[in-house]
């Protein structure tokens, strides 16, 4: 004990000397008997408390991201099918788009807690708010795809005329354009928040979401029996992009991407990426056109894309709890 006390006094003297000489003390002090006392964390933060509030999005939101994406891209596929004269795919694409729009609206409204709030969202249109753009896009897309479908079915039933034909084209083009916005605005919605992992991936999330939407739309059309080269090509490209994105996230190894690589959400991200990426890709490439393998690939991709949506939202929640993720963006670590 005596030596300990002697050491403590000597150390204090040295510190006092340093303080007198330089006006401040750089070194650590002593660890007196009775320690440890609370010490500051190695990286500065307020006791590791989060700086940001976590996103409070409910389970409906990622599902809406997914369904909205499928619906939007299906409308695009329908338009291109029309241009290339594939009547079957046109009709199926319009139906999928319409069904997606019908599912999307309740999901988006349900996550607001009180349904009437959706009307408040349509009270203003604000370009600076991705959410406002999205609410209007969903409204516009639903109307356009519904109109296109009605025109198409009326013409199929034999009541067609020139006006309806033109109207169908206009509605299809509107549906395809608003569908593209519907499938992509959700990624902008994440990118322009303060959540570090979303904000720092604002250029990658659109790729992830659109590739997921593209592949899932193709997969849904495959479920409906369109085991044609068109859907196969779409599926291969989409899963190749998903694979590439997963490789980028893993190899880049950024601190801010840690929620995508570590912990439960990290493994969820990897599971989603593996299913939608390499698993689907290999199934499609090596099994050729065997229908069982294509159905399996479609199922894998849809599940993978769905998991990926939930994983990205979950990663945002994890990221918001980590003060260092935010600080490092604003003051890059040396």
């Amino acid at each position: 004990m005596a030596t300990n006390r002697q050491f403590t006094e000597d150390r204090l003297d040295a510190l006092r000397e340093e303080a007198a000489r330089t006006g401040k003390v750089q070194d650590h002090g002593i660890a007196p008997v009775g320690s440890p006392f609370p010490k500051p964390a190695s990286a500065a933060s307020y006791h590791g408390n989060p700086v940001l509030k976590p996103p409070t999005w409910t389970w409906q939101v990622p599902l809406y991201f997914f369904v909205g994406g499928v619906a939007g891209i299906s409308a695009l596929v329908a338009l291109v099918a029309h241009l290339f004269g594939n009547a079957g795919l046109l009709r199926a694409g319009l139906w999928v788009g319409f069904a997606g729009a019908l599912i999307s609206a309740p999901l988006l409204i349900a996550d607001l807690g009180r349904p009437a709030r959706f009307l408040n969202m349509l009270r203003v249109f604000k370009l600076r708010s991705a959410m406002s753009v999205g609410a209007w896009t969903l409204a516009g897309f639903s109307s356009a795809v519904g109109l296109a479908l009605v025109c198409h079915e009326v013409i199929l039933a034999g009541y067609g005329n020139d006006f309806l034909l033109v109207l169908e084209w206009v509605a299809e083009i509107s549906a395809a354009l608003s569908g593209l916005i519907l499938a992509s605005y959700t990624s902008v919605l994440l990118g322009v928040t303060a959540i570090p992992v979303w904000s720092e991936n604002r250029k990658l999330v659109p790729v992830v979401f659109l590739a997921g939407a593209l592949g899932s739309a193709g997969a849904v059309l495959e479920f409906l029996g369109f085991l044609i080269p068109v859907t196969q090509f779409i599926g291969i490209v989409a899963s190749a992009v998903e694979t590439l994105v997963a490789i980028i996230i893993e190899l880049r190894g950024r601190y801010v991407d840690r929620p995508l690589r570590e912990g439960a959400i990290g493994w969820l991200t990897r599971a989603g990426a593996a299913l939608a990426g390499p698993v689907t890709l290999l199934l499609r490439i090596f099994s050729g056109h065997a229908s069982a393998a294509r159905y399996l690939a479609a199922v894998c991709f849809v599940i993978g894309a769905l998991i990926t949506r939930y994983a990205w939202i979950g990663a945002g929640r994890v990221s918001s709890h980590d003060p260092q993720a935010l600080f490092r963006i604003q003051r890059p670590a040396p």
Partner: protein
């Protein structure tokens, strides 16, 4: 005047015109640095896109230790880059869908 500023026994919390408070803060930081607290500084992020926080803090050490973002930005300054990425991706999707029918 808010109750917290009124009741503060050490006058640590102050309320008033922002410009006057800024001058007071500068004076206080100079005083502290003169007394050897070299890491005394003002936290007042007016230079960034957030344009200030309507509150000024005189702190010792890094802002991070108080959970202040060292260089806060309004997230919507990234709208352009995020929408650009979305636009490029969307164009690629259109291209892929067209190619799927051509090939």
């Amino acid at each position: 005047m808010p109750a917290c500023a009124k009741a503060c026994p050490t006058r640590s919390i102050r309320f008033g015109e922002l410009e006057e408070l800024r001058q007071e803060a500068h004076a206080r930081v100079e005083e502290l640095q003169g007394r050897g607290y070299n890491d005394a500084q003002i936290y007042d992020p007016t230079g960034s896109s957030v344009g200030g926080t309507h509150a000024i803090f005189v702190i010792l050490g890094q802002p991070e230790a108080y959970n202040f973002p060292p260089a806060p930005e309004v997230p919507t300054i990234h709208l352009k880059s995020a929408w650009s990425a979305a636009l490029v991706s969307a164009l690629m999707v259109v291209l892929v869908v067209c190619l799927a029918f051509v090939l």
